[in-house]
Symmetry: C3
Subunit: 155 residues, 3 copies
């Protein structure tokens, strides 16, 4: 079975980045028993922030969804690091916490966060089916459009 | 002991709805060991959203509290589904995450989220006493007034 | 080893307050197995709220960071209560959830929440290194500048 998830990532044309190292006194993930808690990820691509701005204003809903997908890619990169490189050890994506940086009247947070949810299921299949909360933040770091954190169960 | 919680719900005049099925690649709950994580619930009543608007503007604080109570009813409906219909299996309501859709200057998030907290204790007694976070979101799906997620311990 | 954390707190000049009791149907913490979930803490000092206002407007970024530090002190006070007074039982600070009450365009949530993150590592060393999410809320209780919740692993 080893390599199934890696093969799926390749099929999807996704190359996982080097997982970003936090720049402060926190870490990308902490494991308690088999439960892995992951820090919120932002749309960092090749060391540069993409999708900067508020959804409903300078960022479209579609771009917000694309931003959420990048957050999910970065979460998977951190999951891989937590698993010592072997994503087959992911037993279940348990929970996503999606925060959208939007105008106050924006109401399509679910569609935006689907960018992350859809990727998890595309990559992990039934193991990727998670519960989630999709809300707008009042603002996000460096004004990025989306931030997503996660809880994952490992084998 | 079977039926105590169902009897309490009946005493309170609460009829649990059919638990809402998410319309995307996520699920209402995921269980890890004995810990149940639940997706954020909104004030959906009979398939229609109620309490649409911002607390502090078109939604009063009292209506916000009522909205939070509906979110809690919907969380209990999902908990029942997760327990195979037997709410006696709920060992502890561990945590509620309350998000209020409010004007920026609104500061009574605790009073609003009490609509959910009070119901959990009315239904589950000491087992319903949870920790929680009560904050305003910058906006919520379909502009509903409140969203509440939960972590629950099962027997 | 008993007393190491208490000694560190003393070195840092931190006197833990009496842990605040919630004024509603929720509790400061709930333990599931070895995992402790804590309610969101606000900058309550000696029974009075400090740092009231929005970061980026009437509250400076530095004061926001100081507010986050107070939230962390209050979290540690609750952790001590949960441990029956013995903070040596803290195995790991697993996760902080930082909510900043800011103007919509504010983007330095990480710097603000570092006030809490830095204190956890100053007090607990490597055991204090946590994952986290740092976002702005749309508003916070009583208009405080910061609220921080936590998940902690106990021995």
């Amino acid at each position: 079975m080893a390599g199934t998830i890696d093969a799926k990532l390749k099929d999807l044309g996704i190359e996982l980045p080097e997982p970003a190292a936090p720049v402060a006194n926190y870490v990308p993930f902490v494991q308690v028993g088999n439960t892995l808690f992951l820090s919120g990820q932002v749309p960092l691509v090749g060391g540069k922030l993409e999708y900067v701005g508020k959804v409903g204003a300078e960022i479209s809903e579609d771009d917000g969804k694309a931003a959420a997908r990048v957050c999910a890619v970065n979460l998977i990169a951190q999951m891989k690091a937590a698993c010592g490189g072997d994503l087959e050890k992911v037993k279940r994506v348990v929970r996503l916490g999606g925060f959208v940086n939007s105008t106050p009247e924006f109401g399509n947070q679910p569609e935006v966060v689907n960018g992350a949810s859809d990727l998890m299921v595309a990559v992990f299949g039934d193991k990727g089916k998670h519960c989630r909360t999709a809300v707008s933040a009042g603002g996000l770091p460096r004004n990025v459009a989306v931030e997503v954190d996660a809880v994952v169960e490992l084998e």
